[in-house]
């Protein structure tokens, strides 16, 4: 099966994406790996795609999204890196692959993902739920079950589709939704791309919900997953081989959630310690912390979230300022200073 696996990120997450792609290369040298980047390299950073552990580089600006700058401005970094997943997967259906897999840059394969290929023989869409076992402890229900109810049943750090049939139909639908409704706006039923996928079991056939606990292990499901390292060298999660981990929230917040739910299940800390070592080795110090080329107006002033929201809610502003990143006379930025307040 000819497989394309892609991840969507900015240069701030290049270190994570490198680790993901390195682990995928190790376990699946036959997969084609693609980086989807919504960013421009920072000054002083020498970006050499040929030296990166992926095979194909796609700039979000090359996805032929109509009114790209205006569209991009409506999103913050998380929203836009999620939104571009839709047009990419839709377009990739025509690139000659049998299947396309998306994985978040902060995931990493810890063993072969080959069972996915088997499932894709019989199914067109694969999704991993946040939880495959219910919690029964109040704190865990609040942290995990209710959180998934708000943000989406499935974690869209992973999705795999066949490029034909229901897979292609899903890709087109996801493309359409994410181009117009990929915002962190929970009161209005949106949490970027995830809440949309709550509809997938109703809208599409040939879906497999992966309930194997070895997939997409993350802090939100550690309360019901026990990790063990066997003497034969395999790593198991509730008895199933560990396949991939989702290292969400690298840092103090992630550590606290991990500790709360891993407890004394120390192999979890071993896996995190490994990941932190990999990230450290993959980090390029010439990329400024939290870098994002589209986080500021042309004059360097940071773009506030409320300014993006205002712009996306006002069609008149979108029409008046097709390039809202511009600074100076006649710009959206100038309009904000004089009238937007």
């Amino acid at each position: 099966m000819k497989i394309l696996c892609y991840s969507s990120f900015t240069f701030s997450y290049l270190n994570r994406a490198r680790v993901l792609f390195q682990t995928l290369r190790e376990h699946h040298p036959d997969w084609e790996l693609a980086a989807l980047i919504t960013d421009r390299p920072p000054e002083g950073f020498n970006f050499d795609p040929a030296a990166e552990p992926f095979d194909r580089l796609v700039w979000a600006s090359d996805l032929n999204i109509p009114n790209f700058q205006s569209w991009l401005f409506k999103h913050d970094v998380v929203e836009v890196c999620t939104a571009v997943k839709g047009p990419f997967i839709h377009q990739a259906c025509d690139w000659g692959f049998d299947a396309v897999i998306y994985m978040d840059p902060d995931t990493a394969a810890l063993a072969s993902l080959s069972p996915l290929e088997g499932w894709l023989e019989d199914h067109d869409i694969l999704l991993t739920p946040h939880l495959v076992d219910a919690n029964d402890d109040d704190a865990a229900i609040r942290d995990n079950d209710l959180s998934a109810s708000r943000t989406g049943i499935f974690n869209l750090g992973f999705v795999a589709i066949r490029t034909t049939g229901e897979g292609a139909r899903f890709a087109k639908w996801w493309n359409d939704r994410l181009l117009s409704y990929c915002y962190d706006d929970m009161p209005n039923g949106m949490f970027v791309d995830q809440r949309w996928c709550d509809h997938v079991p109703a809208l599409f056939d040939r879906l497999k919900i992966i309930r194997d606990p070895g997939y997409n292990v993350a802090s939100w499901n550690l309360s019901t997953r026990k990790v063990t390292v066997e003497k034969n060298g395999t790593i198991s999660v509730n008895g199933a081989p560990l396949r991939f981990w989702h290292f969400t929230k690298l840092g103090a917040v992630g550590d606290a959630m991990t500790k709360r739910y891993a407890g004394t299940n120390f192999p979890v800390y071993e896996i995190w310690a490994w990941y932190k070592r990999q990230i450290q080795a993959a980090t390029d110090p010439t990329i400024p912390d939290r870098w994002w080329a589209f986080g500021a107006y042309d004059d360097g002033r940071p773009i506030a979230k409320r300014e993006r929201v205002l712009y996306r809610e006002r069609i008149d502003l979108q029409q008046a300022f097709p390039n809202p990143f511009a600074s100076g006379r006649g710009s959206f930025q100038e309009w904000l200073e004089h009238e937007g307040a």
Partner: protein
């Protein structure tokens, strides 16, 4: 709330509670006044009410209200509580007392080990400065010999056995002592720097030389080859060598030095598992026995030693290819694991324990009904199982069924156990056995996290009449206990359960009527038939 206070508070105190802030009344349910005053004497000295002090200042200063509750651990586990500026102790009591509040961190001691874990790169020594002693000094020293190098014995290890203390160093000292008795010459080689791994051919290092017990200095490996070739001649029939550790050595260098003395057949000791992995204790990420899984396994993939494993496999493959090595293991369990995990072409294999038990005789009877005494013998270090002993002591110290003892060179003031200073050394090699025997300890917790190739302390404990309590991954300790019946092999949960139920007291002296033994030490390579090149 009033009804609750009435239920838990003595009548005389109820008035005080009525005047209290509601949070104070909640905290009072679990606040350990005596503990607080003992732990923070400044509170008593200032005349403060301990509960009032804790509720007003103490928790913000990270002071703990009881031995069961750690403010620091709780806030770390529940950062939302810290963000909300809520008293963590009150939060704990009113939220079902979630875990995260035990003396040991809620994540267990292994979490802390992992937080401190350093990479092998960080443990590498500084590059060799190139400063060596003159070759002529080495040549001159070799001229002064016990027997003109006819019975030369060369040992190779990771450090200067004559200057450092430890099990391996003591073992080489015993070889050295036997060589001196027999008037055989002894050349010991060790790397100048503290290498955590074997060296590749391109990594330069000076080699330390100890000649007949005297440290000569640091020399270029090529200089050692020349000096030895000149001094030793080609008749190697009465000579021998033993490789005790290849850490810090490059295999070809070792082979070339041995060849200079005409040596090719010798003994390779399995004091550790460096021939299987750079993590020579087989302790994955320093927290759990790995059992030497196949290289490239997912377990090796997450292990700090994983990226270095090939270096060790390659180096030992080269060594075994160029030399005819008989593998000597201090225990059968060690040899069994080694054989199951490698295809290194050994010329032979032999098991020779460092110590055997001899001259059994009944131990004096002890009175029935005394508390069961459990001891930890040795330094309070994690990889020897100190956190497990600590966990037991914290849990059961107040239990009249048990008495906790620690024997070692240094203690831990925070542990509820009696401490007795014991330092074994060349002058008193059996100091630990004597101390355990004198104190009539019932059982010793010998709980190394890594599989021991040989555990002196397990033999010392049994020789002293003690039972040994150990975990399933302790290698020679577990095998020794299973083979001889001198104790129990339990997992961590079963250990706690055996103390909880009192079943552990089956190991008391009164019930076992144990024997005492003498300890007979081997002279290692010098006790092996394969010890010479003949």
């Amino acid at each position: 709330m009033k009804r609750l206070i009435a239920a838990v508070a003595p009548r005389g105190l109820r008035g005080r509670f009525r005047r209290m802030h509601p949070d104070h009344a909640v905290a009072a349910r679990a606040f350990d006044r005596a503990f607080y005053l003992k732990t923070y004497p400044d509170v008593g000295e200032a005349g403060s009410d301990p509960l009032e002090h804790f509720m007003t200042y103490g928790w913000r200063e990270g002071r703990d209200p009881s031995p069961e509750f750690s403010v620091r651990a709780y806030l770390e586990a529940f950062p939302a509580v810290a963000d909300a500026d809520v008293n963590p102790f009150v939060h704990w009591i009113t939220h079902g007392r979630p875990r995260a509040v035990v003396a040991e961190a809620p994540e267990g001691f292994r979490h802390d080990v992992l937080a401190r874990l350093t990479s092998v790169e960080e443990r590498m020594p500084a590059p060799f400065d190139g400063v060596t002693d003159p070759e002529v000094e080495l040549s001159a020293a070799l001229m002064i010999s016990r027997g003109r190098l006819a019975g030369l014995h060369i040992t190779v290890s990771h450090d200067d056995y004559s200057a450092n203390l430890g099990g391996l160093q003591a073992a080489i000292q015993r070889e050295a002592a036997r060589l001196a008795e027999r008037r055989r010459d002894h050349l010991h080689l060790y790397p100048a720097g503290p290498w955590p791994v074997v060296r590749t051919a391109t990594e330069r290092e000076g080699l330390g030389v100890v000649w007949n017990g005297e440290a000569l200095g640091i020399f270029e490996p090529a200089a050692i080859v020349r000096a030895l070739a000149a001094a030793a001649g080609t008749d190697a029939s009465g000579r021998s060598f033993a490789i005790h550790s290849l850490l810090g050595h490059a295999p070809d260098e070792v082979v070339d030095i041995l060849a200079a003395a005409g040596l090719n057949r010798g003994v390779f000791w399995l004091h550790d598992f460096a021939s299987l992995c750079a993590g020579f204790h087989l302790l994955r990420n320093d927290v759990e026995d790995c059992g030497a899984p196949p290289p490239g396994s997912p377990a090796c993939g997450i292990c700090v030693y994983g990226p270095w494993r090939d270096r060790h496999l390659d180096a030992h493959a080269r060594l075994f290819e160029r030399l005819q090595l008989t593998v000597a293991a201090p225990s059968q369990a060690t040899l069994d694991l080694w054989r199951a995990s490698t295809r290194l072409p050994a010329a032979g294999a032999v098991v020779l324990p460092h110590v055997t038990l001899a001259a059994p005789r009944p131990a004096p009877a002890v009175p029935a009904g005394r508390p069961f005494s459990i001891a930890y013998a040795g330094l309070p270090v994690t990889h020897k199982g100190w956190p497990i002993f600590k966990r037991l002591a914290h849990r059961f110290a107040a239990d009249p069924r048990y008495a906790f003892h620690h024997f070692g060179a240094r203690g831990d003031p925070n542990l509820p156990a009696t401490f007795q200073s014991v330092t074994a050394g060349p002058s008193r090699p059996q100091a630990m056995r004597e101390a355990l025997q004198d104190a009539e300890i019932d059982a010793v917790l010998v709980w190394p996290l890594c599989r021991e190739t040989f555990s002196f302390v397990a033999y010392e404990a049994v020789a002293a009449g003690c039972a040994v309590v150990t975990g399933p991954d302790s290698g020679n300790v577990a095998a020794f206990v299973r083979d001889t019946g001198h104790g129990r092999v339990l997992d961590e949960a079963a250990l706690m359960a055996a103390f909880e139920s009192g079943e552990i007291a089956d190991l008391s002296r009164a019930r076992r009527a144990p024997q005492l033994f003498d300890l007979r030490y081997s002279a290692l390579t010098l006790d092996l038939a394969a010890a010479t090149n003949t």
